[in-house]
Symmetry: C3
Subunit: 677 residues, 3 copies
């Protein structure tokens, strides 16, 4: 039977002194029951070409096994040994600024044949060597894989072959689809295909990005195939997906199609890094968790999160506990720190682990011991939680890429918009899922009927769909959302959505393309606000806004401006059996929350705990026993009290009963778990 | 007989759907009578090497002709097809950072032989194919041509040959003229000539820039020669010169000698882009218009300006009308938008045209219709206006380059200084011309006597010359200005002027070199102010200032500072029959206006409309009928009233009479045109 | 007998007109008695390969000699002629961004054989030609030499040979010492050694920097060897060391081991550039002077400082005098301006000399004349001053490099920390020496016993040692400081000290490594403050801080913070016969001064002039006559008065007696020199 996993990435290879026995003791004392090993240690596993040395792996497996600690084996392919680069310098990716220089991780051309040949060999050696070991519970293929901006001649040749296939060899279809006539960029003979690294054509750029995200999907699937040849039936394959990065995990990862790439795995996994101290909000944990849970609609492995991390992330007392149980409440069935010990050399010396550089029992380790004990005790009730959400975000990497490229169109950030909307829901205690708008290869992306049907199937489970900044929407996406709304769903979307097709070609009919009836509006102008007020007296508004003209819908907000006052800012509509809301600009936070909560309420979606809002956050899940669990978190240094909901509960940490309308006290950075009886 | 032209750049090639017939209808409805086509469409005209396809050009010519719309044919050479780069990768310019990557426009080496060979062929094919068509009224050679930082080996070889010619093969004359002994940069054998891309010698750098501006002049002249072989006598050749760029047109173009390059054209042309909405001031329109008018001393073609442009430029109601008539009042005889339809793919998707992406009749199009109607009706009175200004700016690209390079000398920007002075005059309703200080090739630049005489001839027409930041002044320039003042002119100059010779070698006698008697002052120190006040209590002053020591002149302002108080900031002088004013620092706006208006008044130059100032702007011109026209503009969202000048007028828009001392009302962003009877 | 030298760098080669006779007259009138010539003029000395022309050198030597002016000959090797680069393009350094482009100085690979061959030849020619000339008093080898980021293949091959020697060919010792297993960076065969330019390993990076600083040491020593073959016994060899640069001289030079490189010279020398006008504080003069004096424990040559310099440095009246005597009071025996005349072309046109571009007698020249006269008169009393300081800074380039690299560890700047501490002492009128922590080659750096003993010998002369930001401390350094304190010294250190070993490997025992008993504290956590207050009510504190746990020591300051309040910020300790003070964070200036002055007082070190502080600065020295000299400076535009110390003095400028407790008046930017009778 599955149990909650708690542990850390463990690097015997990086130790400045013999530590193994002492570390196993300390892991056990902390009730840690899993370590991840071997990823990024290629130069140790294969010190020179063809010479393999699993001494370090073997002794760790043996010691962990003796200590009752499970092991996840990571393939070592995201950092290459110097001999491989000496052998073939093209192992290092050629990007827009030339060929990478040796040193950092994640600078390879993951399509390079030399790289793939040696990757396959080291993977086969490592997995065949370890798969049968009883301590090994699963495998992680590669690590936070991306395409590392690879764009060398061979990659570009493969891209041309990909385009030939996509357009059935008809180059004029490509010219038309991408609008390449502009600035003489049209190519009339495949042999004339130019270097794409500096293309000014957003469609060609977007396709190249899509092609390169496919490289990642294919690479991970290929590694999974290799691992599957050796793994036991009780073992899993995962990968630690990460997110976009603003100094911390933030929004959708632009370089990977998470949903497509996750298909080859048996269990989803991710890395979530977030601010702590007075900036700990739980938001990044909830976002990453919800997205990763959605990949397979079930529990995921948190493969990396910080224990101490950056100097500015050294946690306050109790924060490590709060964080660990925030992951669990989001649906994680493992919490694994990166990493066990702080590293004494190189790039991540100041990304500190559970242990500081001195290996002693510091305050963070001591707090981890309490988490491990609680995990162990509560595992039967907390491992295998089910999340059932009524609202979902529709996300799109094609739109993200397009908006990254189309800065001149009002500088609207895809992830910035998505995260504003997500934060609004999060702070109002609504949980949500994620649906991916871009079709997979396996979904026959060129067959609109199939794509539309597949997307509609995903959408129709929800009462409300949020589609922020859905810039590049194919006819199939438009049709699925049209049908979703017509059939009774509530659709919330807004500025910069539906503006182009899936090739980033701007639509040439009335905006929002195909959805004017759904939203009851149209527009053909937009501009940039400079401290513009809104009709309800709120503001000021800055940046991009659309000049909405209601056309059947109800204008519920407009601009307070001499020239723009004639246009609506927000339009609400009833469309056939459903409802639609369109936000024409980046609303002030309070207004955004108001419009979103109104739409949720009208769609019949309730918050987890009505009347309570950030910094008090509630999450709901079904336990393996089928009981409702309520997680209550206080992301604040101030103690708080909140009323217990109706009903009878057991508070799992204290194992005490709590009854509806009693007061639940949460200390600073504290939390509580209620099991409904 | 000539008529006002009104239209747009038209790209049949970029259309996502068949639009031609509908577009001709819409153009006609807007009273548009001209389109520019074909520039930047090389890959359409010559899809593969040597295969020409004028299908799109032909059908547009036919449709426009049937609709009564004239066509300007642009040569397509500013963006190259991919096959040309495959054929010879050196078609792409090698700059200081290596060879350019394919994709953007304007990245070629315009001296590359392969490029020139194929350019010539496509130009000959296009022009011979279209020149006889009755719709074609003229040609535009290339587009906003510059040298694109080309600096590859062949360009540098040509530069060495140019230097050998300039110095009659005497390399030591070059070493002396450029001061190359410094840091061992002297070259004592032409064979040792080093790469100049990273030179630290401002003189060598300046000469290379001059050489590269000559590349532009020669390239445009060469294209004109080709076009002339085919064009009819009733057709014109123009080019769309642009300006320096600060997110909008701003100051003198550093990469092109406008006056020299304009010699090969039959009519001057330019592109002016400017902020709108609350930032619409008309200043950029007046600056670009005055400079372009000055190129040939007569009307010019406004080949490009924005209709909607960037999102932040979407015009307020009435602004498009105000802008169009601002160009006319500056002496334009054409107003052409870039571009007709907003583009659905690539780099300028968000540089919107007259039509939005949906091709419908948006508010901008509707306003354009009223402009077209007014242009058509008023064309007999507004086409062919004469400007007669009494003041002129003396501008110099050699000085501009030198000051760009000499940032360490106080960070004085050439265009920043020029534009401050221009703005001061503009806001006080003085119109002015532009004279170019740098001699052309055809003016025998090495014969100082000839150069001086030629410059003096240009200057003596004016009552007042403004020479801001004239850093690099040759002996001939100095002599011409000396004589201009001695003979009764008024000269206004200031800091950083006359500091070096035409080779950017700093003068080694007392500053301002050769002009100490003219200005009645001298100095040999300067420094940087930090919030320094001035003797009249105004300030604070920041940045560069000179320590002027009056020597015959009258100190009319000094610095209020413990250490610098002994020096003058502004000195006024009478010199022989003329007057001179020298501004030793970047004065606060109000002081600058005061000193400039005093100098203008003393020189007998009056504003167009005394007592009226920005946002109310007046322009004056002579109509083809020889009548005085007054254009009155209100660059403000507030309606305004102003008194009609003495005399009897017809207000041309309303066709009503107006008499002196009546009040003229201008609505928000409104204007009025008075024809003196 | 030695005399004070006063003069300027003189470039006959750069003159735009014949000036030599007139310049000698002007130098003499200013009582200048030395010029430096010939550095940076290689293309003049050897215009084409193998052709030498000493015409300019000869005529300057002759004219100066006739004028009674001494000459320092500089070797010309820091700027290469173009013919040398044509001959071998690899003369230009290959750095992390490719090969340098010709133009600037200091872009060579100073290990390139072609460069060295031709350098040797031109040096031999120049020195053999000039050494016997009676005007020549000494030589400057090269100019502000650094390694110019040279990192081409040959440099990297040499680095691998250096590593092989360092690790006795045992590559696994290197892997262990540098922790290269991390991210697969371990190298198991010397033949696999990768490009190091982009290494992520701070230890390997640090070693490469150390290796490249050794290139500089070796290069200068090699030039000295060449010069010694020709020089007379009465001549000196020097070099103009410079400092780190923040727009002015600031802190320890990261690219040169000053102490090691100075070994080959007969006299230390340096270049000090500093802000003037209202920003003139004397701080940079004192820092650079103290460090340069410490190189050999005796007087140094100030080879370059600005006369006018940048426009913003044009000195106020009296500042040039104050600056000159500030250098003398710091122990300089020469003050030489860079440079005599402002240059009319190229990169440093606006780094103005004594003369402006017009060569006339400007205000700066006139003030220089008074300095020259005073130097001449007072030379017997001011030339050959002895400094005897009781406190010293311990500095380390290895630590500097490590902290530059380890930005993620809290963004602690080495020089920023050092300069804060130095400024605190300076403003309280404490003078100090500098001791270099990193062992030289000649000190057998691998023999810890020898290194420790050598360092201890240097330290034990002082009552107090300041060791800020001593990040990378070897076991020998730790042992020497331990012993220094145990034996009665006072040690002041602080955050980020002792954190790693000399290979930038973080220590894996309790921090501060090896010094927990000395400081009476330990810690294993640190974080970043955001506006955190301190327990004495001061603050706010921002940035890096350590969580100090007193362990025998006395916590004298702690943090005022809910979570961090349990830790100390500053700990004071008595250790055996000595005292120790540890500052756990970047204290507010007043607190820093308080703790430092308390420590100095307890260590028995007094300020030069108690009760007086910046802008009034006092320096002390022993005259050649063995008399105590007090220099009193007023770095302010406000006149000041201060009490004369106990005793009888002669004021040397006025030659008047002054007695203890009389009042000494210092005018704006004034100074006074008291000789104790």
């Amino acid at each position: 039977m599955e149990k909650l996993l708690y542990g850390a990435a463990y690097y015997d290879e990086y130790m400045p002194e013999e530590r193994l026995a002492r570390d196993v003791e300390m892991l056990k004392k902390a009730h840690m029951n899993v370590v991840r090993i071997a990823e990024s240690t290629w130069s140790t596993l294969e010190p020179t070409e063809g010479v393999f040395d699993f001494g370090s792996v073997d002794r760790v497996l043996q010691a962990m096994h003796q200590g009752g600690i499970s092991v996840i084996i990571g393939t070592p392919t995201y950092a290459v040994p110097s001999w491989l680069v000496k052998k073939d310098p093209d192992v290092l990716a050629t990007t827009g600024t030339g060929r990478q220089l040796y040193g950092p991780r994640q600078i390879m051309d993951i399509t390079n044949e030399t790289y793939l040949y040696h990757s396959e060999r080291v993977i086969r050696e490592l997995i065949s060597h370890t798969a049968s070991h009883p301590a090994v519970i699963g495998f992680q293929v590669d690590n936070e894989t991306k395409y590392y901006d690879t764009a060398g001649p061979k990659v570009q040749e493969a891209f041309v072959r990909y385009l030939q296939k996509k357009f059935d060899g008809d180059i004029e279809r490509m010219n038309a689809a991408f609008g390449l006539n502009y600035w003489s960029n049209a190519v009339h003979d495949w042999a004339d295909f130019p270097d794409v690294r500096n293309t000014i054509n957003a469609s060609l750029f977007g396709e190249f990005e899509k092609f390169r995200r496919k490289i990642v999907t294919d690479f991970l699937a290929w590694q999974c195939t290799l691992v599957r040849e050796y793994m036991r039936g009780d073992q899993f394959i995962t990968h630690n997906f990460d997110f976009d990065w603003r100094g911390f995990s933030y929004g959708v990862q632009p370089a990977v199609d998470h949903f497509a790439a996750a298909q080859a795995l048996t269990v989803a996994g991710c890395d979530i890094y977030h601010p702590t101290q007075s900036h700990l909000t739980g938001m990044e944990i909830s976002f990453g968790g919800a997205l990763n849970y959605s990949l397979k609609g079930r529990n995921y492995l948190l493969l990396e999160t910080e224990a101490q991390g950056f100097p500015q992330w050294t946690p306050y007392d109790q924060q490590l506990r709060l964080q660990a149980f925030s992951h669990i409440g989001s649906g994680a069935k493992m919490v694994e720190y990166w990493h066990w010990h702080s590293i004494h050399n190189a790039a991540e010396t100041y990304w500190k682990g559970v242990l500081s550089h001195d290996f002693s029992e510091n305050v963070v380790y001591k707090e981890a011991c309490t988490i491990g004990a609680d995990f162990e005790r509560l595992s039967p009730k907390l491992c295998g939680l089910k999340k059932e959400n009524r609202a979902a975000f529709l996300v799109s990497n094609i739109s993200l890429t397009a908006l990254l490229r189309m800065r001149s169109g009002g500088n609207v950030g895809y992830n910035e918009t998505l995260m504003k909307w997500f934060r609004a829901l999060y702070e109002m205690n609504y949980e949500c899922d994620f649906v991916y708008a871009d079709p997979f290869e396996s979904e026959k992306p060129d067959d609109w009927g199939t794509v539309e049907a597949a997307l509609y199937e995903k959408l129709k489970k929800y009462d409300l769909i949020l589609a922020p900044a859905l810039y590049a929407a194919s006819d199939a996406t438009v049709a699925a959302l049209w049908r979703y709304t017509a059939e009774g769903g509530t659709l919330v979307s807004g500025y910069k959505s539906f503006f182009s097709d899936e090739n980033t070609k701007v639509r040439h009919d009335r905006q929002p393309h195909g959805m004017t009836e759904v939203f009851g509006l149209q527009y053909n102008q937009f501009s940039m606000a400079e401290n513009m007020m809104l009709s309800d007296g709120s503001g000021p508004l800055n940046g991009f806004f659309e000049c909405l003209i209601p056309d059947g819908g109800e204008p519920v907000l407009s601009y307070a401006h001499k020239n723009w006052g004639k246009y609506a800012a927000v339009v609400k509509n009833r469309f056939e059996k459903g409802r639609a809301l369109y936000l024409g600009c980046d609303l002030p936070e309070a207004l955004l929350k108001k419009f979103l909560s109104d739409a949720l309420t009208e769609a019949g979606v309730s918050p987890v705990l009505p009347g309570v809002s950030f910094p008090l956050i509630a999450k709901k899940a079904l336990s393996p026993q089928g009981k409702e669990l309520l997680f209550l978190y206080n992301y604040s240094e101030n103690p708080a009290e909140l009323p217990c909901p109706e009903g009878s509960f057991t508070e799992l940490l204290s194992e005490k009963p709590v009854y509806g309308k009693e007061t639940i006290a949460l200390p600073a950075w504290g939390f509580s778990i209620l099991e409904r009886q």
